[in-house]
């Protein structure tokens, strides 16, 4: 347990020591999204009845920040350690696969939630938000961050250089996030794209999260929870098996 606690603490300390880059910058980016999209679309788009576009957008931006930063934390930490060679300090001690998995993913969840909270605190001033089901907000944000933290872990194990990681981020994470309903409801899409969106697990994370605020969502939140939970279990199994096999870590 001490091994897990130490690695978790180290991962927290790692991002905390460069908080400008890991916390302040993504909050600033989300703020810019809100100002630009909110200003341009506020008077043209209404997604849910009785909910302004800016209010609709805020939970999407919060969740997007949670997800992207959770991914960035585990993936960049592991990648940096691999490139600089200091991963050896993690590989030499008797840390179990579960401890490695738990520490990297939990630290990613913390970073995701810290950034998400920061984005929320800054953006909440721009719209009247309701909190119909706060537990759903918490549940989906933690699960979403855990999923992306796990994906970051897998990407960090697989990638051999930052270029690989950038490809993972730009060709998978970014499109899946942007096309998940951060900026719109999938009901505003043509039927084909609506159908495609239902294969995107990110859509369920954001839709379930948004339900916690407004009590309205594109799909039943229980359905979203089942998809999100299932997705997490699949990814966690993959990550733990990669750690157990030593894939690309212990040649």
């Amino acid at each position: 347990m001490i091994g897990f606690q130490t690695l978790f603490y180290k991962e927290i300390l790692r991002f905390w020591k460069v908080a400008t880059q890991t916390i302040t910058a993504p909050i600033m980016t989300a703020m810019l999204y809100l100002l630009i999209f909110g200003h341009v679309l506020e008077k043209h788009v209404q997604v849910f009845s009785g909910v302004s576009y800016t209010a609709f957008l805020i939970p999407g931006l919060v969740m997007m920040s949670v997800l992207q930063n959770a991914f960035a934390n585990s993936s960049s930490s592991l990648m940096q350690s691999k490139i600089t060679g200091n991963l050896v300090f993690i590989l030499l001690p008797p840390l179990s696969y579960w401890e490695l998995f738990g520490a990297y993913v939990l630290a990613s969840v913390v970073r995701g939630l810290v950034v998400g909270l920061g984005v929320f605190v800054i953006t909440a001033w721009f719209a009247d938000l309701s909190f119909v089901a706060p537990l759903w907000i918490l549940l989906f944000s933690v699960l979403g961050a855990a999923i992306l933290g796990t994906m970051g872990l897998i990407a960090g194990i697989w990638a051999e250089k930052f270029d690989h990681l950038a490809a993972f981020q730009n060709f998978l994470i970014m499109p899946a996030t942007f096309l998940s309903g951060v900026f719109y409801s999938i009901h505003s899409l043509p039927p084909v794209w609506q159908a495609i969106s239902r294969f995107n697990p990110f859509f369920y994370m954001i839709d379930g999260f948004r339900y916690g605020f407004f009590g309205q969502s594109d799909v039943n939140p229980l359905h979203s929870l089942a998809v999100v939970l299932g997705f997490f279990i699949v990814l966690a199994s993959v990550a733990i098996n990669l750690l157990k096999s030593g894939y690309k870590l212990r040649a």
């Binding site: 460069v18 060679g85 030499l92 001690p93 179990s96």
Partner: protein, 300 residues
């Protein structure tokens, strides 16, 4: 029970056999040297002992614990100083050592951390970020990290590569003390005088195989007596002296002699056959001679 038991270890990469059936038994309390030229497989073997890479076949135990099936117990017994000068740029020396202690599942022990730092002359760098340390200081931290969990078996992979005399002396004083206190030490180095002075037993690896394994004294006896090192010109070494020649690839011709009285007849023979002696040295045999001889023999 051996401190490290290595049984028929093989490691194949795509087109390369890095280790070809290595077996060694390193006893508790030994100061064991693992020597060999670059690419001989020393670091691969150490990495397999440490669980950093997996052997293609064979097995390794550390203090009786298999490094694969009982990896957690095996790793607790082992402290490894890696060859590469690696560090985590986010943390200070003290933070680095505290974390390494924690990774081994041990509670914070600042007294021990202070003692290690004092022994490695790191005390006044305790709160300095790793990035700000010189190469030599970083090397000291690597040693401290390997020792922080008080492992009974310590493996040092070329710990003195590129470090100054002061650090070497500090390091060997400290490691020597740990060895006298009962720690098993395994050392790889290219500084053969270090291995000769420190190691009680030595294994030599070449192309993934053990080509020599004996006590340091026994290995030195393989090159009995002294060497007469000659730089000759004018004519090749006379046939009658060929039997004394030590087969070492060098610009010198080395002849094995047991007594100084043997020198005059050698010189007489060289004169008779028209050899000009450009340079002459009389040298006591050392580990380097043994190493070169064995490596050359293994090559033939």
């Amino acid at each position: 029970m051996a401190a490290i038991q290595i049984t028929d270890i093989k490691k194949n990469y795509a087109t390369l056999q890095a280790l070809d059936g290595v077996s060694l038994s390193i006893e508790p309390g030994e100061f064991f040297g693992l020597l060999g030229p670059n690419g001989a497989g020393k670091t691969t073997l150490i990495s397999i002992i440490a669980g950093l890479i997996r052997a293609s076949s064979g097995n390794v135990t550390v203090m009786g614990h298999d490094v694969q099936s009982d990896y957690r117990a095996a790793r607790r017994q082992l402290g490894v100083v890696p060859q590469e000068l690696v560090f985590d740029p986010f943390f200070t020396v003290r933070e680095t050592l505290r974390m390494q202690l924690g990774y081994f599942g041990l509670k914070r022990n600042d007294d021990w951390i202070d003692e290690i730092m004092a022994n490695l002359d790191l005390t006044n760098k305790a709160d300095t970020n790793m990035r700000a340390l010189s190469g030599g200081m970083k090397r000291r931290v690597l040693v401290a990290q390997a020792l922080v969990h008080k492992p009974p078996v310590i493996v040092l992979d070329e710990p003195t590569a590129g470090v100054d005399v002061e650090l070497r002396q500090t390091l060997w004083r400290f490691i020597g003390r740990l060895n006298r206190e009962g720690h098993t030490v395994v050392l790889t180095t290219h500084y053969l005088e270090e291995a000769q002075a420190l190691c009680s037993r030595i294994a030599m690896l070449k192309a993934g195989r053990v080509v020599a394994l004996d006590t340091t004294n026994a290995l030195l006896k393989q090159v009995a007596g002294s060497q007469l090192k000659l730089r000759l010109s004018g004519a090749p070494l006379p046939e009658e002296l060929r039997s004394l020649q030590i087969p070492i690839e060098s610009t010198y011709t080395s002849l094995r002699i047991n007594h100084t009285e043997e020198i005059e007849p050698i010189l007489a023979s060289l004169r008779l056959h028209g050899c000009v002696i450009d340079e002459l040295q009389l040298q006591q045999a050392d580990l380097e001679d043994v190493f070169l001889q064995i490596m050359d023999g293994a090559h033939q």
